[in-house]
């Protein structure tokens, strides 16, 4: 489902502060996998996640999502793939402050042709599934950390994506909330969604249902472990 072929990503190419974030990375993730990019800070996990998620382009190599090479797509098509295929959960949640839970969740679908009433209905269903409906009119900054994360998850799910990408999702959560988050991801995997998490938290990559661990260091893949 997702394949990278010799992917390299430079930042600030040919400048004094040039940085190779990812170097010659190749791997494959199948539909329904629960995959983890494991590694310390600066190992290239987030960059890899953004390359897969069509948020940036590789300097060289190919990223294939489904049967489509997304590494050289024009911006408009990359956005389309991003919107229709992926749901993102960011480390800092990246919710928009001053906006209600409901509107934050609706954000990915605002620039679509869906009617406002239908949009609201769909959002409320998603929030209900995450037990967040009672908070729908709250401003996001008034929520607890766990609630903010559930809002971020709802936003990631609103477009019914096939692939969920999460960057260090448990970094700001206590053990209880981390477990809660992981069980939600597990449920999504059971619904045949592909889960990809970048983390250095053992609580995540040691879970028995994580079936693919890609270990990163210094921008390179050190080891790929596939269970089952």
């Amino acid at each position: 489902m997702i394949r990278t072929e010799n992917v390299t990503k430079y930042f600030n190419r040919n400048k004094p502060d040039e940085l190779v974030a990812v170097r010659d990375v190749s791997f494959e993730i199948n539909k329904g996998d629960f995959a983890v990019f494991k590694g310390p800070s600066g190992s290239g996990k987030t960059t890899l996640l953004s390359l897969i998620g069509c948020m940036s382009r590789p300097t060289s190599g190919r990223v294939i999502v489904g049967d489509r090479d997304v590494s050289r797509l024009p911006e408009r098509f990359m956005t389309e793939v991003r919107r229709n295929t992926f749901g993102f959960i960011f480390q800092q949640f990246n919710l928009i402050r001053g906006v209600t839970v409901c509107d934050n969740v609706m954000l990915p679908l605002f620039p679509t042709d869906i009617k406002p009433s239908e949009l609201r209905k769909r959002t409320e269903n998603t929030l209900d599934n995450l037990n967040m409906l009672r908070r729908k009119d709250f401003l996001v900054q008034k929520l607890s950390g766990g609630e903010q994360q559930r809002t971020a998850i709802a936003r990631a799910l609103i477009n019914n994506p096939d692939i969920i990408l999460a960057d260090e999702p448990t970094a700001h959560l206590d053990t209880h909330l981390s477990e809660e988050f992981l069980s939600m991801m597990k449920k999504l995997q059971e619904q045949e969604k592909t889960i990809i998490i970048a983390t250095h938290d053992p609580l995540v990559y040691e879970k028995e249902y994580v079936n693919l661990v890609i270990e990163m260091r210094d921008g390179m893949v050190r080891q790929i472990t596939r269970k089952g």
Binding site: M55, T79, R82, N94, L107, F110, P111, D113, P116, N159
Partner: protein, 390 residues
């Protein structure tokens, strides 16, 4: 493409504006103030010009003044019969007018002798005009009436050129609608006029020449000038041009005085054009990351700029309209109105030059929207990954 997409983006834009309400209210206040000032100047000067044009519409095509050493002199009435002989001239009428300084209220009055040319003003009068031969009577403007607390059953005293007092019983007061013309006006009989200013018989201030065919006015003026080289023919079109230049100059003066506000607005627009706050950049990054296209972000910023600038523009123009046409341009009318110390307290007819308004609109709304869109465009064409990393 369905309208829903635009509606959804507009909906989100309005929420975004409310989120930063203090900042946006600040921008709206500055923007509105700039539009209010500029709009007031434009509306006022245009209405003045328009009023002046209408006023001059009934004035003679040609006025003949005598000059001496380059200065305006009294003109002998006797030359009227010579001018009448010029083909194309249908009527020559002497005019008697001058200025009187009232040291009591430190103001100048415009004194006019009652005559045929004033008959059109009768409808503007409460009471009546003094008769041509009715001595020691006067009709006064509202400005004079208010400054000297005078009414139709009272009298006004002036001093003749010889220093003797002269009383005038008031027969009428010009009404408010005509104040631009009549605020500082006093109309008296011709005989009283001559006596008050010590003007010799057979002399007049100037001559009003009526021409049968308006297109021949310039030719007739040239003939008069060649026959009477010490005269100065003044064409109505020249007066109109002068009015235009004077009000144009005065508008420019006002705008210069308020250039501080304009500069503040330009700085504001420049500040917006040169960068986005970290929070705004991050928001664009988030929107891009979750599936907004660059065009969606730009549409949002377009709505944002349009809502702020259009709201400010409409409020500014409405306030300017109220200021000019309901409150008589109380803020800066003294700089734009007449020369007299008795400023007319009149209501202008609401003339609007839509061309000027649309120019003002395009010079304020378009740059503001551009200053909103350009930095957002810079941020939104960057990979969302980079934007989000800061």
């Amino acid at each position: 493409m369905s309208i829903n997409r635009h509606f959804n983006i507009l909906d989100y834009t309005l929420q975004s504006l409310l989120r930063r309400k203090f900042k946006n209210i600040g921008i709206i206040i500055v923007f509105t103030f700039v539009i209010f000032i500029t709009g007031s100047v434009l509306l006022l000067s245009y209405s003045f010009k328009k009023e002046a044009m209408l006023m001059l519409k009934n004035s003679p095509e040609l006025i003949i003044q005598k000059t001496m050493a380059g200065r305006h002199e009294l003109i002998p009435v006797g030359i009227s019969s010579e001018i009448m002989k010029i083909p194309g001239v249908s009527k020559v009428e002497p005019r008697y007018w001058g200025y009187y300084y009232d040291s009591l209220i430190k103001a100048n009055y415009t004194i006019l002798a009652s005559g045929e040319s004033l008959s059109a003003n009768n409808r503007l009068l409460k009471g009546r005009l003094p008769g041509i031969n009715e001595n020691n009577t006067a009709a006064i403007g509202r400005g004079v009436s208010e400054a000297r607390f005078l009414n139709t059953d009272s009298s006004i005293s002036m001093q003749t050129a010889g220093g003797r007092p002269m009383d005038f019983w008031i027969t009428g007061i010009f009404e408010a609608d005509s104040e631009l013309l009549t605020s500082d006006l006093i109309v008296i009989s011709r005989a009283d006029f001559m006596k008050l200013f010590g003007i010799p018989e057979q002399m007049a201030t100037d001559l009003a020449v009526t021409v049968s065919n308006e297109t021949e006015t310039v030719v007739i003026a040239k003939k008069i000038l060649s026959q009477f080289p010490d005269t100065r023919p003044i064409l109505r079109s020249e007066i109109i041009r002068t009015y235009d230049a004077v009000f144009g100059w005065r508008s420019g003066l006002i705008l210069t005085l308020f250039s501080g506000a304009l500069i503040a607005f330009i700085i504001l627009a420049w500040d917006k054009a040169t960068g986005l706050s970290a929070e705004e950049k991050q928001e664009i990054g988030i929107l891009k990351a979750i599936g907004w296209e660059t065009s969606d972000v730009l549409e949002m910023k377009f709505w944002e700029g349009l809502v702020i600038s259009l709201t400010s523009f409409l409020i500014g123009i409405i306030l300017a309209y109220i200021h000019i046409f309901f409150f008589g341009a109380s803020i800066f009318a003294p700089a734009l109105k007449g020369w007299s110390v008795i400023y007319p307290n009149f209501k202008l007819a609401p003339y609007i030059d839509f061309y000027q308004i649309s120019i003002l609109m395009s010079l304020t709304i378009v740059p503001y929207i551009a200053s909103t869109i350009i930095p957002s465009w810079k941020a939104s064409i960057t990979e969302p990954d980079i934007v989000m990393r800061g």
